[in-house]
């Protein structure tokens, strides 16, 4: 008898628990997706991870996950970028402290300068990049192409360089070149202002 009496409570409890488990499952899936990708994912990509077509639903779970991360004491953060994209990354103030452990090149400032020059001037003839950055920039361009951050197009005998979508993703910039260049000008403008 006791059992029957408890049934409504139990089922309510069970439903609630099932709901909570479902929610947790979705949050963990989104977390897993953002972790393995290591790049900004679009809302569409994240919808497909949850096997749903509802952008609203996915955005709602993403909001919950972001809140969870910001409430927790952690070195990681989840950011919402423009164009409905989301990224999981290390908080910037930890970067200099653990940089040496990263097994990826492109941390020295030489190639990074060449990269920012290409991003700023793109599409730019390779010749001009070498003129501006010196002979060693041939090596930088090679490295940047190998890393998939820069793409080259042959135009007659010369080569034109531009940044890739992967580059834009890495820096949380928009994919549209002209908008991206405006964004970069603003960033560089700020950087040079503080430098001078």
């Amino acid at each position: 008898m006791q059992k029957t009496n408890e049934q409504p409570d139990n089922s309510q409890e069970a439903a609630k628990q099932a709901q909570e488990e479902k929610k947790q499952r979705r949050l963990r899936l989104l977390e897993a997706a953002l972790y393995v990708a290591g790049r900004p994912l679009t809302l569409n990509e994240l919808c497909s991870v949850l096997s749903t077509r509802s952008k609203n639903k996915t955005a709602k779970y993403l909001k919950l996950l972001m809140d969870e991360y910001s409430a927790r004491n952690t070195a990681l953060e989840i950011l919402a970028l423009k164009d409905e994209r989301y990224v999981l990354q290390l908080k910037a103030d930890f970067t200099p402290l653990v940089k040496k452990l990263v097994n990826r090149p492109l941390l020295s400032s030489g190639p990074l300068k060449t990269l920012s020059y290409i991003a700023y001037r793109q599409p730019v003839p390779q010749k001009r990049v070498i003129q501006a950055r010196g002979q060693h920039a041939y090596g930088h361009v090679k490295l940047l192409r190998d890393m998939g951050l820069v793409a080259a197009e042959r135009a007659g005998r010369s080569m034109t360089l531009r940044t890739t979508d992967y580059f834009a993703d890495y820096f949380g910039l928009t994919h549209d070149t002209s908008t991206m260049k405006r964004e970069l000008k603003r960033i560089f403008g700020e950087a040079t202002r503080t430098e001078s």
Partner: protein, 232 residues
Amino acid sequence: MSTAVRKPFYLRPPWNILFELNKLEKLKPWNVNISYLLRSFLSEMEHTGKVDFRASGVALDSSALIYLMKSKLLLTLQEPPPPPKPPPDFIPPPLFLPLRHELTSTTIQNLLDVLDEVLKGEKLNRLDKVVSQPVLPAVTDLLPQFDAFLAELEARMQTLYELLLEKVKGAGIIEFSTIIKGADRIEAVRTFILLLFLAQEAKVSLWQNEETEELYIAVGNLNVAKDERTTR
């Protein structure tokens, strides 16, 4: 009397460089335009109407020295100063990558897939194994102008030397004024410079009479007794 006190024009810039040898040694020879200096020196002298052979001689000697300095630098492959650079392009500051952990898709299977090709490449490379020597550009490619210059210099020196031998009939002394008789100033300067090169190769010896300012050229194996007037 004021003219006696006033310094001759050639002790003023830019010609003074030809008359202050101690300064000359500290100069970069590429910064001296010999042609301009000598032309302007001659025209200035023409203008004032005072022909001073002694000053001309010193000017020539200094010019030849600068010419020699340039030649020596070329021989040690010192490059002439590069053309001025265009104003620098704006180089934005480096973009530092935000750190993210990113799983990559390469698997051991991918590694195996490319290995096959690599091992084939290794075999091919062994077949046409060519001993590759470092390819250096030919000297003539590097120094075409220098080569032409040297050849020209050698030819002119040889011509002058033959002329001198002919004039002294094998060995003897001849005056500089005899050699340049009828020649214009530029030709005289050229001859003088060539004489300096010949002297450097010990084919001739030169000395000057301080009173007459005549320059004597000794050609061939002459046992010339040197006296205190001997100058270079």
